[in-house]
Symmetry: C2
Subunit: 443 residues, 2 copies
């Protein structure tokens, strides 16, 4: 009866009170509200919207439906980074050990890939033995000793959100800014953070391609953080092309290790340093952005960042020699070059096409149950704006068999456009959003 | 995947094609689309609306998801009457035998009561032995011999609608005019009608209290009928007070029998004759409304209408002597008068309060599984506008025990208002709606 009343009220544009959000979230998590009632309610939320107090109450209700990390006893700043997701986005794997090596706790709870975007958990699991399943007390222990835990949403964390997210995925109610913001923030707040840096992707490969919607999401999450005394800073970064060169699970881990050793591609490093600087500023490790960047560069140059990643890998059951010898990562059977069909400027490398192409190779999911081949993917060396000659290699295809190679060729033919004129890509890091407002960094 | 695509399209205000409605309705009836996806889709339909072609396609898809009566071989007009539902509305029980006795086939598929409104099936089942469960071939046989079958929606008829209606009831998606119209018309068209008369109730006790919404429903159903070559005529009638005096299952059957014998209350007879005349005109039994009324009055005066009801009762397994001796209907243990608390004009008899009061006595449902006590209810002799003295009996309570009598008193105290000034009730039959437009009969 409660659910039906709330459905009807939201349907008619009414307001749901904090106590009602809590009752609904608890009842749903406990199985007392059937999926069909929640589905109807979520569609009403999608179409009628949630005001700020409702979004806050929903976040809080989902957060309190489960356990939290409770890390206050660490007496250290606890900062996480969250990305809205994209193709080739391996920043978490570089940032977590890098920032942890600088004395900041990074309780990084991540997700799996779905649709055209990859997931940090899948990528990490390409390291032999690496285990991302852990209970909260285990994550706490890792944070005590290494300032870092790389793990998945446990059953204990925000169970109402877990269940609701799966339902939204099946009922056409995903792309709602209040529902997205509440879902992300309920999990992030469960990490017991003292600050959160948000990477809001924009461009054709982003979950919300429009800048305006991205900024709306950022502002919603900043407000939710403020309500819970967790400052949130967002950077808007480009996802009109893949980030870095490697796209595919093991390939991205290899590129991340290279980045931790100072050999990462420039765009990946720029985004990593920009987000990392915000983390260090929030953690009060320094008050100066240039100094923050210098600190990170020094950790990489000295080998301390890579070494810290090695310790994390070992602590999570993985084979730490991967850092010295990436060849122990899963290797695809077929490796083949892809060359430019004509001379000209690389004008587009379409991330959605690449992301779907990885899934077609067996390296991504269309359903949550899909088993992945972690070895497959693409390394795309040509960047938008590059001049290429006909026949020049612009990418490498990693596939499990010949038909995979053919599928990979088709993907690259569709994703990469070569034209007579160069097209201006989006600036890599374009906006900085805080509770004080939006700062334009590049146009 | 189909369902998710259609959810997203309707959510974004798009159009669903006829073939897609059919695929969705079939897949849902067959269990291939889960309830949670249909619930989300129905909420999107509720909030985004359906255009005329979509409403038509949904009706057609639900109609074709099951069997139909196929009565063309009868070579007789086949006319039904449908009411949007109210309190004390026993018109179907009077009209069906009356019109059938005049040579028109009346394949009357009815429903059960839910919430504050009663249902024809429940009422008829108060006749000892009367069976409303039958297969379509049995209904056809009754229509061949007696021009009338009084039955419930079988499993064979519009299974997609059956399932969808139950889901709408639980998911806050009932009060949508296109969904209501499609649900009713898919069942009515399955009766193989040559015409349909619609009784659209308005006023506080109606499902859609506003005249405007009632007219919108009428026009939607008229258009759906036209699409399927089934002319529909609607009358708007008053439901700001109960119809007739008896409210409650067996009590209403008793009043219906009285009506068939020429002893019905004036308001019940007026509505019955008005709707019956439309049925006879649609059936082309006569072209003149006054003649239609005279024919019906003659059937009642001669005893032929009551006799025809007796035959129908017998054919459906009921005890036909009920027509001569209504005392064989279930009798409540407690019968008590209710008197006016003050002198004045009866200004309101609130039908929703009465309807809920019947449910409180055990004679109505809040859930579809509830078992009913068919004997309980009210006979309310005072009508809005009547002058009453303090202590004058204005109603009788029929209850199963003393606490029922107390509950009945509370109901009547809340439902009946006595004031110094008479309030003008709604005109009994106010509008006639056809495909040609709306005719105002009374203001």
């Amino acid at each position: 009866m409660l659910a039906l009343r709330l459905i009807e009220r939201k349907r008619d544009g009414g307001h749901i009170e904090p106590g009602e959000w809590r009752a609904l979230a608890y009842a749903y998590a406990a199985g007392h509200v059937p999926d069909y009632q929640m589905a109807s309610f979520l569609m009403a939320c999608f179409l009628r919207g949630l005001d700020r107090s409702e979004t806050h109450a929903l976040t809080d209700a989902m957060l309190r439906s489960g356990d939290t990390l409770e890390l206050g006893y660490l007496n250290r700043p606890r900062i996480d980074k969250h990305s809205t997701g994209g193709v080739g986005d391996k920043v978490s794997i570089v940032l977590a050990p890098l920032i942890a090596s600088l004395g900041v706790a990074v309780p990084m709870m991540s997700g799996r890939g779905l649709g055209h975007t990859g997931g940090t958990l899948d990528k990490l699991e390409s390291i032999p033995g690496f285990d991302t399943n852990m209970a909260l007390y285990e994550a706490r222990k890792l944070l005590e000793t290494l300032n870092c835990a790389l793990f998945g949403q446990t059953e204990e964390i925000a169970p109402a959100d877990r269940k609701m997210y799966a339902l939204r995925d099946a009922t056409g109610t995903v792309e709602s800014i209040p529902l997205i913001a509440a879902s992300i923030m309920s999990k992030k707040l469960a990490e017991g953070l003292t600050g959160l840096v948000l990477d809001v992707k924009r461009g054709s490969g982003a979950f919300l391609p429009d800048l305006e919607r991205g900024l709306e999401l950022a502002n919603t999450m900043i407000a939710l953080g403020a309500d819970q005394k967790c400052p949130v800073v967002a950077l808007v970064t480009a996802m009109d092309r893949p980030l870095g060169r490697a796209c595919g699970n093991a390939l991205e881990v290899e590129e991340s290790i290279a980045a931790l050793k100072g050999e990462g591609p420039a765009d990946l490093m720029d985004v990593t340093y920009a987000l990392g600087a915000e983390m260090l500023l929030l953690a009060d490790v320094t008050k100066d952005r240039a100094e923050a960047r210098a600190m990170m560069e020094a950790q990489i140059a000295s080998g301390k960042a890579a070494e810290h990643f090695q310790r994390i890998i070992e602590a999570q059951g993985g084979n730490p020699s991967v850092v010295d010898d990436p060849a122990i990562l899963p290797q695809s059977k077929e490796v083949e070059l892809f060359v430019a069909a004509r001379r000209g400027f690389i004008s587009r490398v379409e991330p959605r096409t690449i992301g779907r192409g990885i899934a077609a190779l067996g390296g991504g999911r269309t359903k949550m149950e899909d088993k992945l081949d972690l070895s497959v993917g693409f390394v795309i060396t040509a960047r938008p704006g590059d001049w290429v000659e006909q026949g020049e290699p612009i990418a490498t295809i990693f596939a499990r068999d010949r038909s995979g190679v053919e599928s990979g060729r088709a993907t690259l033919r569709a994703a990469v456009t070569i034209a007579d004129e160069a097209e201006l890509p989006l600036p890599l890091v374009s906006h900085r959003v805080t509770s004080a407002g939006v700062e334009v960094l590049a146009r």
